[in-house]
Amino acid sequence: MNIQAAITIYKFEMARFSRTIFQSLVAPIITTSLYFVVFGAAIGSKIETINGVSYGSFIVPGLIMLYLMTESINNAAFGIYFPKFVGSIFEVLSAPVSSLEATVGYVGAAASKSTIIGLMIFLTSNLFVTHDIKYPLVMAIFIILTAITFSLFGFIIGIWAQNWEKLSIIPTLLVTPLVFLGGSFYSIDMLPEFWQKVSLLNPVFYLISGFRWSFFGASEIPIALSIVAILSFKAICLAVIAIIFKTGYRLRT
């Protein structure tokens, strides 16, 4: 196995992250702070506790998930789309690099970046709310699993996209609404019964709910269901990537 190639791609992508460190880290931190000021302090003070958790604390897992998912997708999609756009992807395609090695390099870097951002948001939240994490190991597993899974999804989007518009269309029109409607900022128990049932069709809801369980030890659905949901989505993404590399879809002519 050409491990050096995977490391090379990983380091190259992480170097891109370090070149834009201000934009990559400071922007999410400022936005998160605004969320806490607006939702946590201003609006949250009018909302009762949810399952015994203050509203400010309740939204922390949702906020982390929001950034984790969107940053994973954006980083991975851009990571593979940009060399396609400028043409430098020819280097990877003509090198002795397997599909697994290329995926580990690009997806690993994207997942690392989003995990760093997720952790920064978690640290920022500590400035505004205090919370004990009930199951820190589960929380860490959820963060890593979500970062990898959504980076795989972003990687697929980056290969599929043929222009900048297509690159942003799925994250903007599909993922962001699903994250917002997946209980990032509310419990589905707060919704009318019909919309509660509709929420159960949203796959992101299962991830946020499971992640919230690791914080507070309680969630709307069993933790096992959340883990099954994310592992299933990961398996689907891996299968799609395997097909892409086998057929050369939008990579090789």
Partner: protein, 305 residues
């Protein structure tokens, strides 16, 4: 000489367009092979198929007896590719970009090797600069440096001197000759026939996806060589009525010279034309004979298809 690359009945179809049509070709170890052809002839498609950028629709390609599809790691490990365009990540530094190329081939960082290549290509001073700040010629050289970063045994150069100035073109030619001396096999596509004439050991001509000729350059030049003789006159001639109609002879340079194609200096034919000029009181000032170039041969072959 042993074949290093073996291409057997390779075809590539894009929709209804057959870019390669049953191409078979052997590339020998250590040679410089020039692949010539007009635009859209299939040169880049053939290179892409060997390097793994596209998959042939049918046929087999082997590099050092390894199949390029089933043993792609073994085949690609030996190949360095300089593409026709300038596909570079402009935000990266020159050095890191070369190191990236090397790393993809499973090799660890080797500063001395990269520095040596950058010095050879006069890019050492630019090693820490971002690529988007480089000139077109520097970017072209950087692509060569990147292709050499993993010390390939086979180097593909797809129009390496397109759009570069004369001085840089000579530098690149020298680099190609140096690589050959080091035992690297070089496959070159070019629009500059002079380049092939200067560098190549063998020449292949491809047109409409088919290889129409593969020959040693010297054999090709002597087999297809035609001499052209110019007889320059002291006065302008209006017509050639005094000479029996002959498609080998024509007026040129606005009537101030006769052009004789494919007539040997030592033949009686030339002597009789000179005699005819004297008999008709036509004074000539110079007789000059030139061999036709590879470019003339290339054009003749392509146009005859």
């Amino acid at each position: 000489m042993k074949s290093q690359i073996s291409i057997e009945n390779v075809s590539k179809v894009f929709g209804r367009h057959k870019a390669l049509n049953n191409v078979s070709l052997e590339i020998k170890k250590g040679e410089i092979f020039a692949l010539l052809g007009p635009n859209g002839a299939g040169k880049t498609t053939l290179i892409s198929a060997i390097c793994g950028l596209c998959r042939q629709s049918s046929g087999n390609i082997k590099v050092e007896d390894f199949d390029t599809l089933s043993h792609y790691k073994e085949t690609r490990n030996q190949i360095g590719l300089v593409p026709q365009e300038l596909p570079l990540d402009g935000f990266e530094s020159v050095y890191n970009s070369c190191q990236f190329s090397r790393g993809l081939f499973g090799l660890k960082e080797n500063r001395d090797h990269i520095d040596k290549i950058l010095k050879t290509l006069s890019l050492f001073d630019k090693r820490d600069e971002q690529i988007f700040g480089l000139s077109g010629g520097m970017k072209r050289r950087l692509l060569i440096a990147k292709a050499l970063a993993h010390e390939p045994k086979i180097l593909f150069l797809d129009e390496p001197t397109a759009g570069v100035d004369v001085s840089l073109r000579r530098d690149i030619w020298k680099l190609i000759e140096d690589q050959k001396k080091m035992g690297v096999t070089i496959i070159l596509t070019t629009h500059y026939i002079e380049e092939a004439e200067q560098l190549a050991d063998r020449v292949g001509i491809i047109t409409s996806g088919e290889i129409i000729l593969v020959k040693e350059k010297t054999a090709l030049m002597s087999e297809f060589s035609k001499k052209t003789t110019f007889i320059r006159l002291s006065k302008k001639l209006k017509n050639l009525s005094f000479i029996k109609k002959n498609n080998k002879i024509s007026l040129t340079e606005n009537g101030m010279a006769l052009k004789l194609v494919g007539i040997n200096n030592t033949s009686n034919e030339l002597q009789s034309i000179v005699n005819l000029l004297s008999q008709n009181g036509i004074v000539f000032t110079e007789i000059n004979t030139v061999d036709n170039s590879l470019e003339d041969i290339f054009l003749d072959l392509v146009e005859s298809q």
